[in-house]
Amino acid sequence: MLQLTATPASALADDPVHIRVTGLPPFQVVTLKASLKDEKGNLFQSKAFYKANGAGQVDLEQTPALGGDYVGVHPMGLFWSLKPEKAFQRLLKQDVMHSPFWVTLDLYDSICFHDSPTVQPWASQMVQRWFSGPGVQRKQIREGRVRGALFLPPGEGPFPGVIDLFGGFGNLIEFRASLLATRGFAVLALAYVAYEDLPDKLLEVDLEYFEEAANLLLAHPKIQKPGIGVISLSKGAEIALAMACYLKQVVATICINGFNAVSNVPLRYRDLVVTPIRSGGERMQVHISGAVCYRHCHGDPRDQLNRQSVLPVENAQGWILFIVGEDDECINSKAYAEQAMDQLQSHGRSCGRILVYPGAGHLIEPPYAPLCFASWVRGFSWPFLWGGVPAAHAAAEEHAWGEIQKFFRQHLIQTRCKL
């Protein structure tokens, strides 16, 4: 009897799903398709072609895909190779608390390339992908200047506190914070531009705003003292590195694909003003898809003229983990992370660590999300090229997510043990 199973049918978005087909004719070539509609109704789809074994089975944990959106053994391939119907759309969950993404898995009994309304799948299975677990609470934050959303794990706590920072294009991205909260951390998804009453454009980075956020976390009864962590991407990673340098409240910082110097807009902290390295827009390069690669635009922090913009990482009191995608087309992140590591070492500091992922692009996110190779960015009329080679990027995300949680457990929970 033909059966398509996907277990667990309801899970967190960063948990793998085991997909199997049994009861097929021996050596039958089949098509497995996945489809998902985001909250705006945008369709994402993927497909792969498999050949059943002599016992009529396909097991995505063992059977290689022969063609389609990916090739080889990739148990979660149907998820991370999901592609938008409209080019350059990024899959981003808005409501992380009350609804999952629904992924439909369809099995066809042959090579089914086109989507035909008349061809019915042999079997179908729905899978739910949640961004928060039972008992996780979300609280909208509007205290002082601070704007964001705080996610608390279930239970009394206290929990290690983490600030979650995304890139500089505005809005509030919550899905990573909600997933980390489900893994036992109290996470503040912190907005800093173009959200609620925050400035619409980032004209400077005021580190005191981020210090307010750190203090707000530390004042919370369910959050451990005396130090917090920061997880960050892109412009957020540059800000997080600055926080690590200047704020003693920050004891564990994860910087994903960021700059090691102040870029584009000045950084201010109390009396200190750090002038930025300016970027040369004329060095942008247009990819064949029409998306723009900005990797070559940024100034070189090693240039003597730029030395005042380089962040003084040797002053950081806590631990720093740099996560870098070698195929990052937005920022030459490997070079910047290596420079920061060199700087630490030349000052005799051993609190830095770097993870370099070949084939990974700019948007290294929690695992199993579709690879976003390029996407529209608020305020720009052309898409940004993020880069990344699909299977390698997916593997990087899986590995990095484990390392991220290990890093925070190691360096945040330890502080409690010291009491």
Binding site: V29, Y50, A87, S279, G281, E282, M284, G290, C297
Partner: protein, 420 residues
Amino acid sequence: MIQLTATPVTALVDEPVHIRATGLTPFQVVSLQASLKDEKGNMFYSRAYYRANEIGEVDLEHDSSLGGDYVGRHPMGLIWSLKPENLLTRLMKKDVMNSPFQVHLKLYDSDVLLDNKPTTALKASLTLERWYVAPGVTRILVQEGRLRGALFLPPGEGRFPGVIDLFGAVGGLIEFRASLLASHGFASLALAYYGYEDLPPRLEIIDLEYFEEAVNFLLRHPKVCGPGIGVVSICKGAEIGLSMAAHLKQITATVLINGPTFTVGIPQVYRGHIYQPAPFSAQLVTINSLGLVELNHLFEETGAEASQSFFPIEKAQGHFLFIVGEEDKNINSKRNAALAIEQLRRNGKNNWTLLSYPGAGHLIEPPYSPLCLASGIRTICSAFHWGGEVIPHAAAQEHAWKEIQKFLRKHLIPTATSKL
């Protein structure tokens, strides 16, 4: 005073243009942008950033672009790096006789931040005319017997070497390469074979006698000199071209661009002999990260059992020019050419030349054509990945076009000595 010049302003599409700007501030960065609207209203854009020298000049023949759609010294870069607003759009001129493509060149002060559009005013602009036909070339609609196409004749008296021009599974009548060949002295027949007028709307079988009719039509024409006819063909057209060379002794020069070595998809028939399409493994279709469909692995598992799909090319009387884009994602062009050459060698023939271009994709077209990375073929697929990297593809097109003309002249124009 800021000036933007281009010489010549009016030219054939395969002729280079010398673009220069003068009167700028020394060492200032400027942005040069090109735009084109095709006959359907689709927009194509390109841009490049240059730094003026110490006397305030930018000369695209000497200077390197700092960024934009290309980097480095590429005098024609603004033209061949034009990109469509919608990725899946192919630039193809329909009316080759009566109008050129207009390319608008604009010069801006570059105040490009990581933002969006240039924030300063236009400093200079001009419009280029890019023609697909030289003055004096005539076009004759062909509707003889079953034949449907357009014959382009070079200007002047006398007879010209004849060439049949075949495109791929895109169908219809595509004239722009034939009109250019005529502008270079060849009597060129752009031949449709499906999806045009009363020809079959869908490709179900290739009847080689249709193409034999075309060969005979050309040889009969008062302005065509024989005794041999050439074929310039791409993709599915190259499959047909290969078969024509194998079966029709009048074919003395065959240019095959990124074609298969065997029947693909549908059968071919010639005087009762049927070539069945070679078996393929549909599950080997891949989709790249942009969602574009790649067919270049389809025949990876096809081996000796496909022998009834291969043409007897060792019987060909003429010469072959195989042109291969090594980054072709639609056909494993490199492997196909190797198979064909191996077949010729096995039979003691050496009547072939191979031009293999690293970085070039499937759609190798006349020079300065923008790289079409992907486009759809109606009723078949909406997003085929053709492959190719912009800069090496442009270089390949420039080189291949000259080689194609040299090859055709060598094998179609009887030299004085050969008559002795």
